[in-house]
Amino acid sequence: MNALNDDRALPRIIAPDETAASVTRRISAVVLELPLGWRWLSSLSAALLLTFVLLAGIGWLLYKGVGIWGLNIPVAWSFAITDYVWWIAIGMGGTFVSAAMYVTRQPWRGAINRLAESMTVFAVAVSGIFPILHLGRPWFFYWLFPYPDKMNVWPQWRSALEWDFWAIIAYLLVSILFLYVGLIPDLATLRDRAVSRTRAIFYGLLALGWRGEAQHWRRMESVTLMLAGLSVPLVFSVHSMVALDFSEALLPGWHSTIFPPFFIAGALFSGFAMVLVLAIPMRRLFRLQNYLNDRHIVNVAKLMLAAGLWVDYSYAAEIFTTFYSMDKYEVAMELNRFFGPYAWVFWSTMVFNVLQIQLLWFERVRRNHVAVFVIALGVLYGMWLERFMLIVTSLYQDFVPSSWGMFYPTMWDIAFLAGSIGLFFALYLVFSRMMPMLSMHELRKLAHQRNEVVP
């Protein structure tokens, strides 16, 4: 076993025969020339089918109310909040890969930053559906926004749910700006290469008249650095707010200061997993092996392992603190997690988030794309189960035995989860054929630097 020491055997970040022209040709061809193909079309059809399931669910929920879900007192939060936390967490990893790697000048980010940023935008957009629908009367969601109205009612600024609203709005808009600023020069390339007039106008309008002037590049690099620098604390603050939704409550298992860092660890963990789930098929589907190679996959797999160990440490710290406190409600909740009716959720979480990721210590596993893909899917599943466990095991048996009760999902709970996955992939698949999925201008620069400097 040659743990974590395999750099020499890996390919270079970008294939040695790549030039600015070949980068432009290959990557813009995915958007402008490559036929849609049965793989892409069948994936999109499946995703759209699930999206229609979600739309039907939303329609039925608006007509009937949140009672179509299995939630009730005492388990008043269940699938919807689990789905929300799961999706927004996936977005975090995308921002982190892109922004932190920019700030730390990691040259290999050029191949995965666009993918990660667009993943973030779609994951955050999908996540926002759940808390709004969970409101009960979703059409009044704008009451969260402070505006002078005739009721003279203002938002409650001391509520963690209000903080959440501001966090999601800021995060969604900053993510869109971050994605868009990086896209502008690539949109200009598409404008200049588009054969049809309609496409040239479409990309031309989006490119805002970009010409690549030296001073414009300098402003763009400056604003990218600003956005990256702002995004890192934004990621940490947004997911801390999500965690505060829980730790502000007094329930055993929720009322804990470990939650914000613990949630951030989980967010990065599932975000890296989703980057792998998207990158591994995409590099084959769009023939991007020259830019997205073993080195990128291995690097993200290592990041996923590191974030996973941070999550595992948090599990250990949480369990230790519970027993160390000797608080009887906390201890009862923890024993319930181990041996209660939801024990299978707890132990499955341990299998997926603790045990299986240890395989990534082995170089042979890290370099096997199928294995990494399967482990990443397992991590996504495990992180969903973890949020479900955190939410339900604290709610179903609290202080008073008379208010204990089980949660059983309905068909609609599952339809919303499946539908949100469908919507995410539908957005992603459409985006991947409309916009260059790798950053052409960054890869051009990389090709130039590598082919001049590197032996």
Binding site: W166, T189, L208, M241
Partner: protein
Amino acid sequence: MSKDVMYGLLAEFDDAEHLRGAALRLRREGHYTRIEAYSPYPVDGLADALEKPRIHVPFWTLIGGILGGTSTFALEWYSAVIAYPIDVGGRPTFSWPAFIPAALEMTILWAAIFGVGAMLLGSGLPRLHHPLFGMPAFQRASNDRFFLLVRAEDPQFHLLSCRAFLESLGPLSVTEVGP
């Protein structure tokens, strides 16, 4: 094409180092001041070689952050203390620690919006048309070619001498850009 209706002279180069060297000579030896350089990816030191003025993106990002944070905090104070005070067991209405989260998020959001706004407006974007878009060769500026442009409005600009100077820099071609 007379000088009045001309936009400038455009020289095309095939790589980034060549472009930077030519830009440096154009600025230092030709004493031209209205020079623009175009490249398909950011070339380190190119704007410095052209002695371009400082950019103000970080400054406006800071201003946006300060404005976003203070205005949100002020709004929270107004609504929770003046407009709609809620007495929760006698606790202070001005509970400022609870106002930090929304103010923090808006600091970051406004900073980002101001930064992007400063980048676009500072660069004169968005812009629907530009004389260079009329040049077929210029389409490769977003792909693999590098360009230097001397504006006709430059006080040093004389069509023949400028063309001769640009030719001496070893470009692939020198062309006139119409209005």
